[in-house]
């Protein structure tokens, strides 16, 4: 009984939580470890430290092309989905109207649908419309899957936003656009930047939709997928993967800090002036 009480009061739970975090991180840690190992196959014991695999990366033209493609797709998808996300998040947090939750649900749906089915259905429509597959079609697909994440980040930034500030601005003679630019935008800017970073990261890491919707141009995940067939190329892939991991990690940390700041800002100032 005492053991049980201790279990429920956190001692064992804490140990379990630590183990769980280890379980979450452990697999990912092996990528960087074997990317600096001299042996070509990832196995223990480690044979020695080398940066050889990293030095080879910039000398691979196909890889540089893929990185450039990923950058273009990521930036376009981030900007477009954040723009669409701003409109929708503003509408959801600011207005009440019939059909609101249905529309919201539809926009969030790509989050819970099997990605393969989303990808092949878009592929069918694009082929029927006579669109040739290219990076543009990949951007279209990425925007669809990024919008739900953008919405989540932006709604948490827009919620608790004090509407009286905007009303005050309008009362003082500012136009609707002027109010948005000089009052609303500065307050929600961190949330917007956070959404841009989140969407860029998702697009950078996204594989399935890019795999189905691209023509001949590869993004980084597609390049990695192609390289996985060759066992000898594995260390190079691990090095590239490590760089992607670090990039995603940094981008998401910055995004999270900004999102918190945005949520804090709208709520604090609301509280201060209310």
């Amino acid at each position: 009984m005492i053991a049980l009480r201790r279990f429920l009061s956190g001692g064992w739970l804490r140990a379990y939580a630590f183990l769980y975090v280890v379980f979450l991180y452990l697999p990912v840690i092996f990528l960087p470890i074997f990317s600096v190992n001299t042996a070509a196959t990832p196995k223990f014991p480690l044979t020695g430290f080398t940066l050889h695999w990293y030095q080879d990366l910039p000398r691979t033209p196909a890889l540089l092309d893929a990185a450039w493609n990923s950058l273009i797709v990521g930036v376009s998808a981030a900007v477009l989905s954040t723009l669409l996300g701003i409109l929708a998040a503003r509408s959801i947090t600011r207005y009440r109207y019939p059909g609101r939750s249905t529309i919201h649900g539809l926009i969030m749906a790509p989050l819970v649908l099997p990605e393969v089915i989303v990808a092949i259905s878009m592929l069918l429509v694009m082929l029927q419309l006579g669109l040739s597959l290219s990076l543009f079609t990949v951007v279209l697909g990425h925007v669809l899957v990024c919008i739900p994440y953008s919405m989540t980040v932006l709604t948490s930034g827009f919620e608790g936003f004090d509407r009286s500030l905007e009303e005050a601005s309008a009362d003082l003679g500012e136009s609707a656009f002027g109010t948005f630019r000089r009052v609303t935008l500065p307050m929600v800017a961190p949330a917007i930047i956070s959404s841009l970073l989140v969407c860029f990261t998702i697009s950078l890491d996204e594989f399935i939709i890019a795999f189905f919707l691209t023509g001949t141009e590869a993004t980084l995940p597609i390049y990695i997928w192609g390289q996985l067939r060759f066992a000898a190329k594995l260390p190079g892939v691990l090095a590239l993967g490590t760089l992607l991991l670090v990039a995603s990690f940094l981008l998401m940390t910055v995004a999270e800090i900004l999102r918190r700041r945005a949520a804090g800002r709208t709520q604090n100032e609301g509280g201060l002036y209310a």
Partner: protein, 305 residues
């Protein structure tokens, strides 16, 4: 003069009403959300309708015959290969959602009830690996479970086994392990949110009235967190049924899932209508399974109270 400037009273009324309508909440709200909504209609709803339409057509080499037929569904449901793949996909996704929820619940409980000041730090720690590329996480499991992989070479180094085990990679257990790891964060968040909503005074009341910690957990906390358990199961179950990367990388022959068959119909086999019918069948079956899961959890919740 005044009348001429302001127009007839009735005209003024309609104009005022029109202005009021244009400035009313519903119209402004709908106008604002319409670009995003239309985008989702064109790139999500329309494509799914097109897939449903295709599933009733027939492929003739390069052209598609648009006469209505249920032949694709007959093939999808009765051909042993597709039936087996569908069953295996359902079994894998059900196992994965059960495992993720079971493993995630104690963590969500710990963060919500004992997280203290570090709640948001814990949540951040747990969600970060999830933001790294899914492809890379699957790849790292391949590195771990492979014949020459981390686990085999580690176990051999420790003297536990004499030669590498082939039982680790290229089967459905490898797929289950990888997916359980990949979806962990998705299960923790909804459970955490629902645990945060549990009124702590109710738990105290149960304890005051003589319930032990286990009883008060089973009769108060657990049933009240059922909505979180439901959304966690669904959020894991529905996407994993259609997973393509994991079976392809770590599944081998025994771990092939329905998404691989769907992809083949749109690629090599080039039979779009059959691929469409397989997609629609998968969606319908997983919806049924999700519905059943919701009903079962709700029934258990009622029993517990």
């Amino acid at each position: 003069m005044t009348a001429a400037v302001e127009g007839s009273p009735s005209l003024r009324m309609t104009r005022a009403r029109r202005n009021a309508l244009l400035q009313s909440e519903p119209v402004q709200g709908l106008a604002l959300i319409s670009p995003t909504f239309i985008y989702a209609l064109i790139l999500l709803v329309l494509p799914i309708l097109v897939v449903i339409a295709h599933s009733f057509w027939t492929q003739h080499y390069l052209t598609i015959d648009r006469t209505f037929t249920l032949e694709n569904y007959r093939v999808a449901l009765t051909e042993p290969i597709y039936r087996d793949l569908l069953w295996r996909s359902l079994y894998i996704s059900l196992t994965v959602s059960l495992l993720t929820v079971l493993l995630a619940y104690p963590i969500a409980y710990f963060i919500s009830f004992h997280g203290g000041r570090h709640k948001s730090l814990w949540l951040f720690l747990i969600t970060i690996p999830f933001w790294t590329s899914y492809l890379l996480r699957v790849m790292s499991w391949k590195v771990i479970l492979g014949y020459n992989g981390v686990l085999n070479s580690g176990l051999m180094g420790l003297g536990v086994i004499d030669e590498p085990s082939t039982a680790l990679l290229y089967n459905s257990s490898a797929v289950i392990i990888t997916l359980t790891h990949a979806w962990a964060a998705f299960a923790i968040l909804p459970i955490f949110v629902s645990l945060e909503k549990v009124d702590r005074t109710l738990v105290e009341a149960a304890t005051d009235l003589g319930d032990g910690p286990l009883r008060s957990f089973l009769r108060v906390t657990l049933p009240l967190s059922a909505p979180g358990i439901i959304s966690a199961s669904l959020i894991v179950m529905i996407p994993t049924v259609g997973d393509y990367v994991t079976p392809k990388l770590v599944g081998g022959k025994d771990g092939v899932m329905i998404a691989n068959a769907i992809q083949a119909q749109f690629g090599k086999a080039s039979n779009w209508p059959l691929g469409a019918a397989l997609s629609v069948t998968t969606m319908l079956v997983v919806t049924l399974m999700a519905g059943a899961t919701v009903l079962i959890i709700r029934a258990l919740q009622r029993l517990a109270r």
